[in-house]
Symmetry: C2
Amino acid sequence: MKRLTLKDVAKLAGVAPSTVSFVLNGKGKQMRIRDEVASRIMQVAEKSGYEPHRMAVNLRTGQSKTLGLIVESISGSFFASLAKTIETEAERRGYNVVYCSTENNAQKGGELIRMLGRQMVDGYLITPAPGMEKEIQQLVQQHKPVVLMDSYFPSIKTPYVLINNFDGVQQGMKHLIGKGLTKIGFVMVDVKLIQIEERLRGYTTALKEHKIPVKKKHILQLQYHRQREDSLNELQAFIEANPELDAIFFSTNYLGILGLEVIARMGLKMPDDIAVLCFDDHDIFRLYPPGISVIEQPIEGIAKTAIDLLMHQLDKNSGPMKKTAVELPGKFILRGSA
Amino acid sequence: MKRLTLKDVAKLAGVAPSTVSFVLNGKGKQMRIRDEVASRIMQVAEKSGYEPHRMAVNLRTGQSKTLGLIVESISGSFFASLAKTIETEAERRGYNVVYCSTENNAQKGGELIRMLGRQMVDGYLITPAPGMEKEIQQLVQQHKPVVLMDSYFPSIKTPYVLINNFDGVQQGMKHLIGKGLTKIGFVMVDVKLIQIEERLRGYTTALKEHKIPVKKKHILQLQYHRQREDSLNELQAFIEANPELDAIFFSTNYLGILGLEVIARMGLKMPDDIAVLCFDDHDIFRLYPPGISVIEQPIEGIAKTAIDLLMHQLDKNSGPMKKTAVELPGKFILRGSA
DNA sequence: TACCTGTGCTAAATCGATTTTGTTAAAATT
DNA sequence: AATTTTAACAAAATCGATTTAGCACAGGTA
């Protein structure tokens, strides 16, 4: 009942192991194996159910045919959809994927990358968190194939894909403003990440374009690592301190969920007491009455593009890339909250 | 900048490769390598940052040090917590994990198991779905280490861990009945799985124990694979057909979420118009006003126990197991809905 | 006839570890 | 003093593939 090896197949077919290897790897013609012999080998391999030993192949070829996917949180719904698409896309190309989450642990990112390196992944798909910059930089310097998703570091020259954050926020803001709302609050975290800055820029630009003054006190920057309860309180204080607000734009779904809790706690009704819009969809938003309007991320597009970019790097004999920085449009989804 | 091999370390330390291998694998004493030499080797290995080549080790030892985790859906919150705990527990023991989801695809389960076999995982952690029975049976017959989670097949003799479904439902029912509610509906799916049957048994037993008649029309069996919209309609029809119901027990969180949608659609208020209880917690339930009371699964316990059971099988020189079937108690969490 | 050129395959080296078997000098035993 | 043990490593086989180099034979050329 033990595993069938290439040698066994060779014996069964009455040829040398190397011959079998050539045929099974499609190098039969090139090595001028007769069609007759080749097809016999194929037959034997087929009906004996031979499967090459992964580790042996990897050892010899130096390719693990494995990609590493590093995300912030495995529990997030962003990750869930991302992982699904990436896995199927990778599998189509003969790769498989190992997942890792940094779980918002600043230093854990580095360990993870090293861990994956130890396991010899052929390439990396990373949603960068603050604090992983050095590690990613190293990977790139070591010429490891890397694609960043959802964000990027301007200092690191490696391909990335993300939603067009600026445009996404603009879409939402235009909707709010179009409904006549002008006192619009903006809630963000204070981490210095490109995507966050872009969202803020979308907010201020939209206001300016409509000649609405941008007020600093309408922008709340929550600290990144905080007790959940503290954030809730701060958020509540913000809303209470600005009773004139008729809408709030939450720049991430985590913030949006906090917002829902605070709004419920304060007994406010959406959208009349306050309209709510959130960047990045979440299961809860579909369900939570009256339905939270969101900017949806083109997750499938991001995943597919990321794999494409990575495969292009893995493919040694493909020219230089034309587009290494991809921004995909988000989709505004109108629900009851705004 | 190429990888450091064991040979390189040997050269640096001025000994043979085999000697290095012995020392690094803790067989130095056994192979009577002098402490002096051993520590020199350790030093060299340390400061050269040598990491053994995984694939080579695997090839030689025949162990991939990898576990396969097969779940129904990667997106589920049950999976999310499960995966996290399992991954950290596995890592503590030097294993890593590859995930796969069957995504409710009956036949996909088999493929997955085969795919994992190809990749040579050392053991399997599976949340069995209907239709995977044969494949799992095969694994067990091939003496592959397998642990089932969340459910099991009585016909297959392999260790499993799950929540005590019967007791969990009992806890919830006792609460409802204790509040004086007697017209309690029960919503379930019609798949023939142990855990579902146990939950139903918990429901009927609790009623009987309190001398409340069990009415067939208060039990709704939704078909497993249905359009979401169809299920919603059927659920709504059920509630409308039984206006006397003062509480509903949803036997899975998926059903509970459907329930929330229907209840909102019908304009009913929890808990006064109708009380709601759900088996298996979900992010949404914490948030959705007025908070949905649930039976929470001891996910961490399940994960840890599962790993323990699996490791025990992987450990050849450990005696037979005492407990191969573990049931862990669930926890009743009271929120606003019941 | 000797030499070259293709054919069609096989033998052997290789990847980087682990593990079994060997080797040599010193110590212990008879 | 001759022989056996033991200490302390080194050498070589092995895992299961891929890949390079090689080998025998047929036919064409000089």
